[in-house]
Chain length 347, copies 2
């Protein structure tokens, strides 16, 4: 006995199933006495409508899929926080599709995972292929992207290049001239482009100041704290380390700070480090960063999706950036001769 059905309730109340359905759905076309009687029967039988049957009948599942690299990118979790609240408030269930490896994207999305089961889909830091987008459109499943773009889909983005420029200006204003960059591999299987755009903006602004990054100071590794740390350590231990590092994510910036500690460089006195994103860890590691509104982007993405679900045509939005200074960057050290300080000449 897996619970009462609408038929049992109808029988108990002495009405037709249609009438029970009407009171369930708040139809005004039910007389008050009947309504009461049905409500009483519902309570008496502890009846709860079967959402699966309802979904089959209405064509709406009341579930939204969220496709994201949940466990490799801490920023995703913060975005989820915003989305989860909005979705739950609107009565939607949130189904997670974790994508950790590029191949998974292919397996999961196009096929059974999304088809027919989700009323809408939120892509976070990931984008559907063109074929998938077409298919989703054909099925009339609204889609919103966060932190990625697509020509035909509403996207919530930031200006990554602009963020890179902001980081450059921040470090230049502190007098730094010997700068390093630590970011993602630019040819990754997910098509992540943020790191490349951030680097481009950064280098562009440096170029305007007549500065370029020495090839040995441009590090690109798979995303993650450990790879960043391991790649930064030799660079920071060398005879001529940079005086400042821009990492294209907080995760990597934290790796750089760990490398600095291992190399015996104090932050920010001997090395300035600035990250990007403003994830929670940036707060308790005291990292200065180019902050983007993570939770807000998730909330906004969910809101847009809800409106699209309601039949509205929605447009994407670009979110603002700001530098949050927590003290991991500082003025470049200058020794008595006025030369730019490096570890080699200090002490």
């Amino acid at each position: 006995m897996r619970g009462a059905t609408i038929a049992k309730v109808a029988q108990h109340a002495g009405v037709g199933v249609g009438t029970v359905s009407r009171v369930l759905n708040g139809s005004p076309a039910v007389s008050e006495p009947t309504r009461r009687r049905v409500l009483d029967s519902i309570a008496a039988l502890d009846y709860r409508p079967n959402p699966v049957a309802r979904a089959l009948s209405t064509g709406r599942t009341m579930a939204v899929g969220v496709v994201a690299p949940f466990f490799t990118q801490p920023s995703v979790v913060e975005r989820m926080r915003g989305a989860s609240h909005a979705l739950a408030g609107a009565g939607y269930q949130l189904v997670v599709f974790d994508v950790e490896r590029p191949e998974q994207a292919r397996e999961r999305l196009g096929s059974r995972a999304l088809g027919g089961r989700m009323d809408g889909v939120l892509f976070v830091s990931l984008a559907p292929t063109d074929a998938e987008a077409t298919q989703l459109e054909a099925a009339h499943v609204p889609v919103v992207l966060i932190d990625r773009t697509h020509p035909r889909l509403p996207c919530i983005t930031i200006d990554d290049a602009q963020g890179g420029r902001m980081a450059a200006r921040h470090l230049l204003a502190l007098g730094h001239r010997r700068l390093a960059f630590v970011g993602d591999l630019e040819d990754n299987g997910f098509g992540f482009e943020s790191s490349a755009r951030r680097r481009e903006g950064f280098e562009e602004e440096l170029a305007a100041a007549g500065i370029s990054i020495a090839p040995s100071l441009r590090i690109q590794r798979p995303h993650g704290r450990a790879p960043a740390r391991e790649a930064a350590l030799p660079m920071l231990s060398a005879a001529d380390p940079p005086t400042a590092v821009f990492a294209s994510s907080d995760v990597q910036a934290i790796g750089v700070m760990e490398a600095a500690q291992a190399a015996g460089l104090t932050v920010p006195e001997e090395l300035s480090v600035i990250g990007f994103d403003n994830v929670e860890a940036a707060e308790y590691t005291g990292l200065t960063t180019v902050a983007q509104p993570l939770e807000e982007s998730g909330a906004l993405g969910a809101e847009l999706l809800l409106r699209a679900l309601g039949g509205e045509a929605v447009a994407g939005r670009r979110m603002p950036l700001e530098i949050v200074d927590r003290g991991s960057t500082g003025p470049v050290r200058v020794d008595r001769d006025g030369a730019l300080g490096t570890r080699a000449v200090q002490c």
Copy 2:
């Protein structure tokens, strides 16, 4: 046209829908030629079975709910990582039910959220009420708890009191005698008991050594970094601060380390800090902690649930604990007179 249906495929292949269903479900009772023909039609029409219809027909939704305080407890995310992989591998969708406030637990669980829509439920750091448990049992929905207990349900737990004892022994062995505790409010709306059990084990072991915690050094606050930091600051700034602090979670331990920095105490020289859980942040803040296997507990919980879903009777498990020493604890300082060092007598 929301995609082809089984009827269209049957028509296209010139067979009955039952036959199409049989090839879909790998029934051996289909001749090879028919099978090929049906497969061709499926491909030609780009047909994908509607999971909602299938769910209604079979009574299995192929979805599992995870009920947890996702965004207030970082440990939950690490547990999810383990669970997500196992569930996805078995073809189950993962539906998240975030519970941030005590009242939400009531609204969401018992009612529409879980009823009829989930094949199984994983509770993380949260437990169903007795009424909910009964209801889930009546509906034959298997349940597994992680980090909580219930008399009739399989639970994956740790020995919290034992962990508290381990922390105590660790600090006692380093010579600490003036000890503080920072943990959760013990009367919280969620029924979290870990913090209380950890404190009890800690105090028990101290008592065996003839030591007790001064009331002013026993801090209990809502879970979180900021409340821990704010409550610890005055304690650490006082004339007679403790030489070591046991926090019943890493999150709170990080708050204590922030307070130590604000109070001008160096860790571990002037203050030893040990946490509990071993979340990722413990790694990059260099926190010594009583480590529990978070990801493994999630994976194990998912496995048990899958086995229960397969009809097996499953039993819970107790996970092992170990101290991971990252250098935030050290020997107590002793001044020249041999008295136990405190900030007041040093220098």
